[in-house]
Symmetry: none
Subunit: 211 residues, 4 copies
Amino acid sequence: MGIQERKEREKERRRQQIMVAAKRVFSEKGFNKTTMEDIAKEAELSPGTLYLYFKNKEELYASLSLRILQYLHIRVTHVNKETTLSPDQKLSALMEAMYDVYDFDPLIIINMFHLQSSETLKNLSESLLEEIKELSQKSIGAIAKIFKEGIDNGIYVAQHPVALADIFWSMFSGVVLWEASKKIISPDKDYLKSTLATAFELFERGIRNPD
Amino acid sequence: MGIQERKEREKERRRQQIMVAAKRVFSEKGFNKTTMEDIAKEAELSPGTLYLYFKNKEELYASLSLRILQYLHIRVTHVNKETTLSPDQKLSALMEAMYDVYDFDPLIIINMFHLQSSETLKNLSESLLEEIKELSQKSIGAIAKIFKEGIDNGIYVAQHPVALADIFWSMFSGVVLWEASKKIISPDKDYLKSTLATAFELFERGIRNPD
Amino acid sequence: MGIQERKEREKERRRQQIMVAAKRVFSEKGFNKTTMEDIAKEAELSPGTLYLYFKNKEELYASLSLRILQYLHIRVTHVNKETTLSPDQKLSALMEAMYDVYDFDPLIIINMFHLQSSETLKNLSESLLEEIKELSQKSIGAIAKIFKEGIDNGIYVAQHPVALADIFWSMFSGVVLWEASKKIISPDKDYLKSTLATAFELFERGIRNPD
Amino acid sequence: MGIQERKEREKERRRQQIMVAAKRVFSEKGFNKTTMEDIAKEAELSPGTLYLYFKNKEELYASLSLRILQYLHIRVTHVNKETTLSPDQKLSALMEAMYDVYDFDPLIIINMFHLQSSETLKNLSESLLEEIKELSQKSIGAIAKIFKEGIDNGIYVAQHPVALADIFWSMFSGVVLWEASKKIISPDKDYLKSTLATAFELFERGIRNPD
DNA sequence: GATGAATGAGTATTCATTCAT
DNA sequence: TATGAATGAATACTCATTCAT
């Protein structure tokens, strides 16, 4: 391993260290109430160091959202590669993946919507924004591919596959968000998983062609 | 009309005046970048006056979300009152109502999710929070009632009506949010209404029992 | 006196209050080492209030320099108005005025050079910069007018009056600055006034035509 | 050449390398907006290395001003050595030298005044300050010597030679500074050299005794 | 000597909120 | 009621300087 490479690896480790700390603090306090000093303390670093790895607070925040997109993309791509699966089986696998995405980081979906507010996006660097765009499109594209197969097979309704992918993703995140906010409004109930299951079931029936 | 009542009415008029101004400014700049002075200027009032009618910035913001809930509630209740309509016709009317909710205030849906972040909710007065809770539950309940009729009639799947209502609302807001963020990510496309139509169509097919 | 006018006057009073405090602190600590909080404390105001009257630190600083230009302009204009004076008498009066400019605010000349560094000028508001430009030009123009009379009379050398005014002003501020820095380097001597007198004498002989 | 000496020479070379880089960056950005990292990059060194050769930023800056004093001193001493020249010829040579000083480093004159602000001088090491003092005095002394000859010869006015030297230097730097700031204030004119020529001409006539 | 990652003190600026009028 | 001048706490970000390697 060359010196160059070792340094690169070390740098990535620091980024991860900061992101882990940031995730903890952002999750607990939300974006506005979290200070860079909070994060620095949590990461056992000085505030200045954070800026060696992230341009500013927004960009640190956004990089957290990027991780879930990366995870999603990997999972969905993986599903697509399983050529032996039927569209129905792939859809099942996709739903399974969505549960995992949720478990991977339940709070970060809420962050993603914060991220996607124009207020935030405008402060990101061109390169990070580009990365987010690209990953979003790829992920939605990969989901759409699953639907396309089903549509081509005639077992799913003849809708535009990307539109279906958008709806699938919207429904997923809409449910997650809505259940999260319900949890605040009436903290004693936690229906998320079952609501999600019902939503998926309903979605599946919705896209299926009547035989 | 007594003096008391006239005063009350006058006060309500001012609240509305402020809310109209606030909506304009929040819609344009988002929550964080909007200052109370911006709103005061837009309302042609002084900053101090705003605090005579709203406890703080968060509460002013939240009251805007309350309006859309009120509007939604009125519309859905109205649908429910039409006893001559079949469940299917009511569902159509409900969808129609959702389009109107969106048209009533496209950006405020995004605000609603901001509202529901714990960060914000914690700063609201007990009474306002109570009002939001109640109205949310009533609205969801009214939507659930429509589904319940269909389920009881056997034309909709035997799911818990409230779960269906939640999914319906989640899907609606999920699509609105996702399309809004896509507009920023890939600004050249604006599919909202058609995506929404597809989503509703799919939802309808999803909940319908196979004959 | 109308309310409008009284407010205006009150506002001007506050500006002066801040400028007086700022001058004291800047003189003592220099631009960089002076904090806005220092000034606020000296003015017995809060830091935020400073920003109600001055856009930023640089602009507060620049406004101090503007005062000396204003003073200079008034004095020189006054000299020009004395139509009964000969060019020589006017030149004497001008020199007198320069001594007073110096006494008015000995340290602020140094500030003026700080001001005129491009570093600083770039941060000023368009309007303030405009004001500085205009006042500079007017002042130099007024000085030039004195020389022009002498030139037209044939008692001063046939140089461009504005060039003479520039040199006069340059020599004045050059001497002030140089003596100020010498005071730091060898704090035991204070030749300023006599050096200035010699400089003026020399200048006068320099511009005078041989009879 | 011993090892000691070679090391010394190497060290001096590095100092020069850094100063050349520093001059470029300071000239472009001014003192405050220049960072040590900027200079390090320009010098193709690391920030830490700069501190091996200069105590701190101020001292690096000051050492640049020292160079021009050194240059000035060399030139003026050289003029003095030319015993065959008349005072008038020496004065001409001095003026020539000043043009060269200006050409040597037009912006550094402005820096010199920054240097001489008490704000900066207070942070310099005793030894550097001493060096600056000494060189200033020597340079002024050398200039004064030229004037003294003329005075002794009776062709220049009977003023204190050091006072004349101070005025000469003040006028020179005053004109340079003023023209530099005018360039910012009214960027369309660039009279420097001609103003300087007029100033020198005027100075010469000013110091000359009427025959 | 040279490096450059890490430091952390230092501060200009903002803006929700208050309160004397 | 309404005002709007004043407040002052709060914080993102910078950068000269250090020091382990």
